[in-house]
Symmetry: C2
Subunit: 424 residues, 2 copies
């Protein structure tokens, strides 16, 4: 089956407002509370102000409020809590790519001519359940007939990809660790991040705690020592250790989308969405290869073609680093680095905040947190801030980010959605 060349949308679409809740574990909050928090920040972000009545439709990404909160049919409830009834509200689910796909649905809805102004967002409230039940719930994003019965959970699935990448390309566990160090460094500059400490800071607090308790000081000279320490950084599924894994998170994120021809009603600094691609891939057990995601390559090609840009044009990217190996694979699937080179490039600093190709300036899912249904739109929010020069201490390229990309994966590549953004 050949893919036709991606066509253009009949109408341009821009982001004109963006907001997110703090990401973390908030036992006392529901999805509704988190979304209301994100919405309030979004409203405040609209330069020329927003009358909520201007919002014509809602697309809300969510993986499984059914299982996490016992609440299905979440979209109209959120519309109600935002005061947006009787606006149509649709939940979009493609596992961890749910809100990346919700963003795409919002874009298509505006391009259809039906709406000028749409809210696209996502939310997940995961911390209600004990960790093992979260793991079981997330495993349902793989193939429940063929993979779960084989004993696979997500750390195991990504560990398989990591070992395949190591075997094929010589990637080492230290490459993965370097990505964790980088993303924690970025996340420490992001006030919304769940794990808002650098690895250095984590080490220092552990040293201080040992001292308080009169225990011997841990024998770590640097971050690599810490990350190799089997007690401080235990193996989850080799070679993925604790600090290679994104946390269990609660959070919500939303962006206000407007047709390009009405964007100036809301802001003089819109972020235009110039490319959108989405692909589906096989479950891991039927994949032809384990070191890249076919859906990501398809989605990227569509987005690049629609945008008329190449990987070289992308100044920063937010990619789906649910595990550190996923960032390696993403950076290759997106064409930033040749296959096999993603880990080496990251370890050499190419993807650092002030490297040649900053990746995950927000801290990524790894440090910012990964409320799965919210992550795709949260990526778009980071791009929005960076492109408007509003990323504060973690601002990349001195605020000169004219073209950026987000890459959001569902399951083990069953879904991938890629967006490309432009500030003119």
């Amino acid at each position: 089956m050949t893919l036709k060349r991606a066509r253009r949308l009949s109408r341009g679409v821009a982001i004109v407002g963006a907001g997110m809740s703090k990401f973390g574990a908030f036992k006392e909050k529901s999805s509704r509370d988190l979304f209301v928090e994100a919405f309030a920040e979004m409203k405040g972000s609209v330069d020329k102000g927003l009358d909520a009545a201007e919002i014509e439709s809602l697309y809300i990404g969510n993986f499984s409020s059914d299982l996490f909160e016992g609440q299905g049919h979440l979209a109209p409830i959120i519309a109600d809590w935002l005061g947006l009834l009787p606006r149509p509200a649709t939940r979009v689910e493609d596992a961890c790519a749910s809100s990346g796909v919700a963003l795409r649905m919002g874009i298509l809805a505006i391009a259809s001519g039906l709406y000028d102004v749409v809210l696209a967002g996502g939310v997940e409230k995961m911390s209600n359940l004990p960790t093992e039940r979260v793991t079981d719930t997330l495993a349902m994003a793989s193939d429940a007939l063929y993979e779960i019965p084989a004993g696979l959970t997500f750390p195991g699935i990504f560990a398989i990809m990591a070992t395949a990448h190591m075997q094929r390309y010589g990637t080492q566990p230290e490459h993965f660790m370097r990505i964790a160090v980088k993303n924690h460094q970025n996340g420490a500059l992001n006030p919304k991040a769940q794990l808002g400490s650098t690895i250095q800071q984590v080490m220092q607090s552990r040293v201080a705690r040992a001292k308080e308790r009169g225990q011997p000081a841990p024998p770590w000279r640097d971050e690599m020592d810490f990350l190799h320490d089997a007690q401080a950084n235990p193996v989850v599924a080799w070679p993925m250790r604790l600090f290679d894994c994104s946390p269990i998170s609660d959070g919500a994120a939303c962006v206000l989308l407007a047709a390009a021809d009405v964007a100036s009603r809301f802001t003089d600094k819109p972020v235009h969405i110039i490319g959108s691609g989405q692909g589906s891939g096989p479950a891991l057990h039927t994949s032809d290869e384990l070191t890249s995601l076919s859906a990501a390559k398809v989605a990227a090609r569509q987005a690049y073609e629609m945008a008329g840009v190449t990987p070289k044009d992308i100044k920063i990217a937010e990619v789906h680093d649910c595990f550190t190996i996923a960032e390696v694979v993403a950076s290759e699937d997106l064409g930033f680095f040749a296959p096999g080179q993603g880990g080496f490039a990251a370890a050499e600093g190419a993807t650092a905040l002030h490297g040649e190709r900053p990746i995950n300036t927000s801290g990524g899912l790894k440090s910012k947190g990964h409320p799965v249904g919210a992550s795709g739109v949260a990526q778009a929010i980071e791009v929005w801030k960076q492109m408007r020069g509003e990323a504060g201490a973690r601002q990349a390229r001195k605020g000169k980010v004219d073209v950026a990309l987000t890459h959001n994966v569902g399951g083990t590549g069953g879904t991938c959605v890629v967006h490309i953004y432009e500030r003119r």
Copy 2:
């Protein structure tokens, strides 16, 4: 908040193929199996043939394969099983309106200019779970924070609407029973129906069984006697009795959508979708009234305005009769009858197959079955058949159905989506 006048889509869209699985309880089948069955029938229905490679994107309605089958992220798995990788595949969830909304997403996706040919479908596999767990699962489509803790399940919620309707308008349980009789009559003419027997046939088989067992013949003179019999037709939540409730169902349905300008590649008898509306409403516990659904009225108004027709123009309608009271309310919300008149009109035969305004010629959810994520698209399939004069023994209006409507509700009116169709 005022709604702006519904605008037109930038591009026309038509149904050019349609197929569904048998509806029923199929212990040995999964969602995938059911969808493959529906897809095969759809392929066969395309007059000029379909190369599956022409399908550019999939929108799949599903309420909760997570809870029913332990499978999240269903859409790309279905794409894989249909041989449609790497096409983008998106799950849409709005409770029992999931596939009505998936249909709308497919329409918007084509109108956006991105695609010419899209598959919209839905599936639910409910019979795996014991009845009480199905009821609990469906209850998650209401408000889990405020309604479920009050002990409400769906039969109870619709019973509240029914008693309110009775109190306000003088509607009687017999009105509901007449709708059950009608829908079973229609369903008995539909080979895909789960409950494919008339109430008369059900009575006859019970009489025969009693005879076989040497028990006294039941004292029923007609259907009304049977439906008043507390043993034969027990109260579920008064006034809703067993035969007022749709069954627990497994099934899948899909339609092939094409841009109007390419529809002739597939058929010379397309069914054009000329109106689409979607609204959100409050959960029942915050509704201002109990005898109509605000989301349905909003969705209907949008659809009528987009189509440029009025309720009088609608020749047949498939409405969301998850319970018989829901059909009464739908027929009023859609403007077919004045508020309070829906039950009286149905009892007088106005909505019968050969009445002045046939409703649920398919048998409706009540008799055809209600695999919740598939019901919205299954409604569109009935309209497709009726409008093409291919409805066989249940053909309405001697095949002359030029304008038709479908009405699909999620939860207790949290979502409603209405579509209007035309054969030119």
